[in-house]
Symmetry: C2
Subunit: 221 residues, 2 copies
DNA sequence: ACCTGAACACCGTTCAAGT
DNA sequence: ACCTGAACACCGTTCAAGT
């Protein structure tokens, strides 16, 4: 009943199709929702078929992550100064992981793999343009910071989803717990618990990036 | 055959015993090695018994993490200046996660829970002593950076273990892959691939901490 | 070359039954 | 109150058999 066109193989499974379907499922139902069974059902095929195009689940996750990272980084336009470009890259990544929380875990757990290499490359190029003396220290600090924030944010989102809360309700619950801590043992945390709900993760993130950029520039003035 | 002493319940299972056994298993065989079955065998009991003392696996992981974090932070002695104390806390955490790689994942994925609160508290207190203007920005940047680096390092260690490599062999393999990248598309990454094997994660980490601390201090001189 | 789908090994969690 | 261990649901991966 099937017609396989000569060069298109239009009806058969392709690696790209699989990855695209995986991204959809991950976006819809998180990392826990991506199952070979669910994927097979969506692709109208058997679970085993996927293994012909993909090595295993790790391979699939990394590839899905890489596709999204490529698109995200590609959308960042170069700014007048390298500092501003770094900010733009950071913000793009922040927003990207905010809308695809599953990427936080994947990115943080696949050291040296392509998605991370792309980020490293872009930041490294900009830092090199600035001409920082301790180049590697600056680049690795920026990368770690970005991945750290992204991971935290993703964890928040995933936890909130798991328990059926939205972001502000979730922060509210954390603030409540923190407010109940012993103020003698935890003076700092209990003092900021009330400010937790109203703070802006995105602004905080940018402030951190600026802190790091400022620190690596030669002392001005 | 068993004697249960009146107040000790010496022979019965306790939550602390379970957590301690879990830490041992995690240290020996990583996150993948911690199974309710393995845990039950080590404790000479049934898998179901553990659920009487522990809510679920997440609860167990967080508690295990918290115990180790508590010990680690407790071992840090206060230094003459808050800057030095922050460095000491950072280093202690770095070394801690280096020897207990499983903690990287747990810490990064349990936002607002006790282990993170303890770290936040300690850093927050020191930053408050310094009297930084943008207090929260500084604290959250430090925390994210520390968790980010720790997570990366843990991921390295876990990946290396999974594939039966030691650290330097693992870095060597990553360097090889990076060196094969197209130098036109990835000029930065391929240029640093040769330096990858010889760099010192711990020193890089400290450099990043110093960068952040320097940035939050008022401009000197 | 590529797909099917049953089978396997494994794992977190539950629960009726015990003490 | 606390433990036992079989049972359940689920999931990644494999593989003999198909086309």
């Amino acid at each position: 009943m099937r017609k396989a066109s000569r060069l298109g193989k239009r009806n058969s499974l392709s690696r790209d199709q699989i990855i695209e379907a995986a991204i959809s499922i991950l976006d819809e139902s998180g990392k826990g929702g991506l199952t070979f069974q669910a994927l097979a059902t969506r692709l109208a095929t058997g679970a085993g078929a996927i293994y012909w195009h993909v090595e295993n689940k790790d391979d699939l996750l990394i590839s899905a992550c890489d596709v999204v990272i490529q698109r995200t980084l590609h959308s960042v336009v170069e700014r007048p100064t390298p500092e501003e470009t770094i900010r733009a890259v950071g913000l793009a990544l922040f927003d990207c992981i905010d809308t695809h929380p599953w990427m936080g875990t994947v990115l943080a757990q696949t050291p040296g793999k392509m998605p991370m290499v792309r980020i490293l490359e872009l930041i490294g190029q900009q830092v090199r343009v600035i001409g920082v003396v301790e180049e590697w220290a600056a680049v690795s600090a920026l990368l770690s910071y970005i991945l750290g924030v992204a991971g935290q944010n993703a964890a928040n989102a995933q936890f909130a989803r798991k328990h059926g809360l939205d972001r502000s309700r979730f922060l509210g619950e954390v603030a409540d717990v923190w407010a109940c801590l012993d103020a003698t043992a935890f003076p700092f945390v209990s003092s900021i618990s009330c400010k937790l709900a109203e703070h802006d993760d995105r602004a905080d993130f940018l402030a951190g990036i600026d802190l790091l950029i400022r620190a690596m520039l030669p002392v001005k003035r």
